[in-house]
Amino acid sequence: MPRSDLKSDQTELVVLSVLAAEPLYGYAIGKRVAEMSAGALKLGPSRLYPLLSKLEQSKLVTTSWEEVKAANADAGSDGRRRKWYRLTAKGTQRLAQRIEQHRRQMSLIERFIETAGPDAVSVEGAAS
């Protein structure tokens, strides 16, 4: 399946949607996006983490830390810190706005597709 690149507002929508379902840590968010899109959507760490940072700054998500340990780590070792992200009420509102915005755009584009008529559907196949 070909991969799609998301625009920044779409990326925000996707991440907020994923977090609306449950709190997740960064790596799990990336994996969840890939799983839900069957690998079609690529949300790399270089985009994901700065976005999460921005969402946190904007108070759209709240965060907490968890200590995780390697299975082979010494009993006394500290392990590493894992940051969990959870949607705030403000984030839920933003998600609703993004969904509404997205639906309006889709609706507009749909009008053009309908105007183009049924023959236009085969254009992609003809081109390839």
Partner: protein, 430 residues
């Protein structure tokens, strides 16, 4: 959301730690924020490596791939700065909007950097207002002499062949400041990469900083490169390849002058030494704190939150009952906040001790009065008895009573002496 400790598989390899160390230096953010970002990325990298190992990659390849997926280090750091600074800029803009009424500086609409010289700064198409003059209620983030500087309408400059000094002089002028004092440049090249590999490298001819391209293909790009900034922090953050050493590039406003330098250098300049009297501090049990305990307190409680903030600079010297700490005023303030309850506890312990001492003293003095009365009474009775002994018909019992009474009198005198000694000790107890 407190989670329990989970057991995960981790590669725990040095290349990741090394990459994170280098990346951390490029971030140019306050250390608390930097630590949070680095920890988040470390978790990502190690989790990713573990997944790749499961998929059959060698450990070396897994680490390399996980790191490569993060992309170019400077670009990633820039994205984080943008995420953080973008928000700050909006905050600063809103503060400015509140406070600048009537003070806004006129904005020139068109301007291009001219040839290097005294007049070029005026040609920069931007205007700036200093927070100290125009932002009501703005909160300096860490230091009193680091006010937010907001370029109203933005600061835009085409890089061309202008030097860092040219740009900062213009920025200072637009911020209503006299000039900029440049930092000592260690002329370091980051990432252990060769100069030729950097799109923009730094050299220091005669102490003057220039940004020059070492790669012919990038010369044009450099000439056309436009720096746009809303705040002084944005502007400093634009110089991706500049490295002033510890803590990254930072600024202060001192006596109307824009001062630039590494975070640590600037903080060291404004660090002050303060003596902390250990005898005024007390632990929960009421015991006095030792120097080691104060040091532990610094390490565990303050070092992460405060000394790690931009410019964190700390020296610690213990001398008897006094600990000398050299740190930023901000650090001292935070330390005082931590120590205050310990001081209050010590004060309360001292007051309680004093009350007990006074109570003990009063009891001893009452006991002394009682003993003296008994002593006086006994001595009087012994004198009377002595007269009876002098008569020819004195009985044997009277002699015996006299001997016992004299013994008791000697005992009472001993008790009185002991009580007086205890009173003296109690009166002069610390």
């Amino acid at each position: 959301m407190q989670k329990s400790t989970q057991i995960v598989h981790s590669s725990n390899r040095d290349p990741i730690a090394e990459w994170l160390r280098v990346f951390s230096m490029t971030l140019g953010l306050p250390d608390a924020e930097r630590r949070a970002i680095v920890d988040d990325l470390e978790d990502h990298l190690r989790a990713r490596v573990d997944d790749l190992l499961i998929l059959g990659a060698t450990e070396h390849d897994a680490v390399q791939r996980a790191i490569a997926e993060l992309g170019e280090t400077a670009e990633l750091a820039g994205r984080f700065r943008q995420a953080k600074h973008g928000q700050r800029r909006r905050q600063l803009m809103s503060w400015t909007a509140i406070g600048i009424a009537g003070i806004a500086v006129a904005v020139s609409s068109v301007g291009v950097f001219g040839p290097r010289g005294a007049g070029q700064a005026a040609a920069v198409q931007a205007s700036a207002v200093t927070a100290e003059a125009s932002v009501e209620g703005a909160q300096p983030d860490h230091y009193p002499d680091r006010p937010p500087i907001v370029f109203k309408g933005g600061f835009s400059v085409t890089l061309g062949d202008k030097s860092f000094e040219d740009i900062m002089t213009a920025a200072a002028e637009r911020a209503g400041l006299r000039s900029s004092r440049l930092p000592e440049w260690p002329n370091k090249v980051r990432f252990n990469r060769a100069v030729a590999e950097l799109p923009l490298a730094v050299r220091t001819p005669e102490g003057r900083v220039h940004m020059v391209s070492q790669t012919p293909g990038f010369v044009e790009e450099r000439r056309q490169h436009v720096i746009e900034a809303g705040t002084i922090e944005d502007l400093l953050g634009s110089f991706e390849e500049l490295d002033v050493g510890l803590g990254g590039l930072d600024y202060r406003v001192r006596d109307g002058e824009l001062v630039l330098g590494s975070q640590q250098t600037l903080a060291a300049e404004e660090s002050v030494s303060k003596a902390y009297d250990l005898t005024t501090l007390s632990l929960p049990g009421g015991d006095r704190m030792s120097g080691g305990q104060v040091h532990n307190l610094l390490s565990s409680h303050l070092s992460y939150q405060t000394s790690q903030e931009p410019g964190g600079y700390l020296t610690y010297t213990e001398a008897g009952d006094v600990v000398f700490i050299r740190a930023t005023p901000n650090y001292h303030e935070a330390l005082d906040e931590v120590l205050e309850p310990l001081r209050e506890r010590r004060q309360a312990a001292l007051q309680e001790e004093e009350a007990k001492r006074r109570e003990r003293l009063a009891m001893l003095e009452a006991e002394l009065v009682d003993l003296r009365a008994k002593h006086s009474d006994l001595r009087h009775r012994l004198r009377e008895n002595q007269m009876r002994l002098d008569s020819p018909d004195a009985h044997k019992a009277a002699w015996r009573a006299q001997i016992i009474g004299e013994g008791e009198l000697a005992d009472l005198e001993g008790f009185i002496a002991a009580i007086r000694e205890r009173i003296v000790d109690t009166k002069f107890a610390n």
